[in-house]
Amino acid sequence: MLVNNKKGFLNKFYLFEILTGLKITMRNMLFAKNVTIQYPEERRTYSDRYRGLHYIKSVNGVENCTACMLCPTVCPAECIHIVAGERPDKEKYPVKFEIDILRCCYCGFCEEACPKDAIKLSNIYEMAVSYRDKGVYDKEALLVQRGTK
């Protein structure tokens, strides 16, 4: 049951309450810091532990990866595909290394499982692609050093 506690004609307009509310609104509008940012010009900085786009660490131009297959083994999304091979300067290396970032769930298990410190998840979070096949990153694309982890 509604109870009208307001007495008097003027009080029935709730003028005081409206002003109190308006005061909070104006304070936030004029003096509070913005929550949003001007995205393309301004970027947020994320923690170093952020798990974004992958890369394969390379030292002196040689990839750390030895195609041991531990990352595809541990991957819950089954998005890593490796073919191993042999070359004169390296006993075992990945001939093909593909990550389907459309399937990836960015759990970071691959990074954790890697015994060679090769696969890394960078801070990069902009991964939109215009075609589905561009969502599959091959070895060349993954060898771009996207961080210093």
Binding site: T66, A67, C68, M69, L70, T73, A84, G85, E86, E91, K92, P115, K116
Partner: protein, 467 residues
């Protein structure tokens, strides 16, 4: 029977048996590197150490004959300490290249290191390194990983028939190698990779193809010859990667020959015909659908039909073909074929003193059991139906016996079907279940390991479409 007590269990044994054999038979696991039931006991890895009551020192279970009333402990503190020390000593020179090594996942050293070893190493000196010589087309050696169990040397001496592996130098610089660095000659070289407890000897063919833990193992029988060695077919996603021998003391013991080990190649080969194929009006072979291909085959199998049944088919398939020929073909002559010069089961002889037989198809003795005769290449026929399982010889010169159409059902290679009118793709031994009979008369089961490649179908399916 005398009895000994191992880990509190009272176990019977035959006099002369070693403690490790008694334990193995009763499911008690004693770790070992150098001991292998097929090979002479050398007791040099010291991993199988056990504690025996009333004996002052630790004993190696592989070289300790079980005695009446002997009380053995395989898990006491003293034993655990010994194992940890042995592991540490064994791992001194072992490189940490499990990510590269093909053995990882099925490596005895890896398993025991995890179970009995320490998580870190105290060793600070340089690890020894070797330059590896070529060991032939089957085996790839990596001496850095070797732990000197000498199983490979003993295998070559005692089973393989060639004394071709030796240990050079002594102590830390011991190098296991072939005599004068020559490539291996034995036909059983692949077994070296199986018995090697580390990744020192691995298969060249399987090198870097797949990690061991991905492979599904299906119990099956090798179709390489009439011996019928028991194998595990290792496959993943419809691709066969390798054969491993499976223990069967009555037939192949622990081994298979290299020919059988690598006989799976044609299953996923590009050259295999996996679509129903019919020769068109302009004499070219063209893919078509199953229904029209079978209709074409039915229309062309007329007159006096020569039915050739590969002796690499299973008993079930041969029976189905016999019933089909009786039922659907008016005038048919049935023969089996397989290896050149093998018309009857008695032509099959031992090729060496170990496993290999001269009949290069697995079910020659089974085909004979079902009343088939070998094909001698004589006679004139109007048309021919050739059933082949993948291992029997390619029949490319049937034209001289057959006037009309030659129809192939089964596994064929594109290069060998020039004279064929219709080819209906069939199943290889990895894609079907069935029974085969080896030279001793033992019936053994094949189990389906992978789904049929391409549009291949079973013989029964072909006959169902035929009528």
């Amino acid at each position: 029977m005398p009895k000994c007590i191992i880990d509190g269990k009272e176990l019977e044994f035959k006099p002369g048996e070693m403690v490790i054999q008694v334990a193995d038979r009763n499911g008690i696991d004693i770790p070992r590197f150098c001991y292998h039931p097929a090979l002479a006991v050398v007791a040099q890895c010291r991993m199988c150490a056990v504690e025996v009551e009333k004996m002052p020192k630790i004993q190696t279970a592989c070289s300790l004959p079980a005695g009446d009333g002997m009380i053995v402990h395989t898990n006491s503190d003293k034993v655990k300490k010994t194992r940890a020390s042995v592991m540490e000593f064994t791992l001194i020179n072992h490189p940490l290249d499990c990510p590269i090594c093909d053995e990882a996942g099925e490596c005895t050293l890896q398993d025991y290191s995890f179970a009995h070893g320490a998580p870190d190493s105290r060793y600070e000196e340089h690890r020894r390194t070797f330059i590896d010589l070529d060991m032939g087309p089957v085996i790839k050696k990596n001496m850095n990983r070797c732990i000197h169990c000498t199983r490979c040397i003993r295998f070559c001496d005692e089973v393989g028939g060639f004394r071709e592996m030796v240990a050079l130098k002594r102590g830390n610089s011991t190098e296991i190698t072939t005599v004068d660095g020559k490539p291996l000659e034995t036909e059983y070289a692949g077994n070296l990779a199986d018995i090697c407890p580390t990744g020192s000897l691995t298969l060249v063919d399987f090198r870097f193809k797949k990690r061991a833990w991905y492979l599904a193992k299906t119990k099956s029988v090798c179709e390489g010859c009439a011996q019928g060695c028991n194998i595990d077919v290792n496959s993943e996603n419809g691709v066969v990667f390798r054969h491993l021998p499976r223990e069967n003391m009555e037939i192949n013991k622990w081994w298979i020959c290299d020919e059988g080990r690598f006989s799976f190649k044609y299953v996923n080969a590009e050259a295999r015909v996996t679509e129903p194929t019919v020769r068109t009006a302009d004499k070219k072979l063209d893919f078509t659908d199953w229904k029209s291909a079978v209709a074409e085959a039915k229309a062309k199998a007329t007159g006096k039909v020569l039915v050739l049944i590969g002796s690499d088919l299973t008993l079930e398939e041969i029976r189905a073909i016999q019933a089909f020929a009786k039922d659907k073909l008016k005038d048919a002559a049935l023969f089996h074929f397989g290896t050149p010069g093998h018309l009857k089961a008695s032509d099959d002889k031992a090729e060496d003193k170990i496993l290999r037989r001269t009949s290069k198809t697995s079910n020659l003795h089974g085909a004979e059991k079902l009343g088939l005769k070998g094909w001698d290449g004589q006679g004139k026929y109007d048309s021919a139906l050739v059933f082949r399982g993948g291992r029997a010889m390619m029949l490319t010169d049937l034209r001289k016996n057959v006037g009309g159409a030659i129809i192939g059902v089964g596994v064929f290679e594109t290069a060998a079907i020039d004279s064929y009118e219709v080819v209906l793709p069939g199943l290889s031994y990895t894609e079907k279940s069935g029974t085969i009979v080896n030279w001793q008369g033992k019936e053994q089961k094949l189990n389906k390991a992978i789904e049929p490649v391409g549009q291949s179908r079973s013989v029964a399916d072909v006959f169902a479409l035929w009528s």
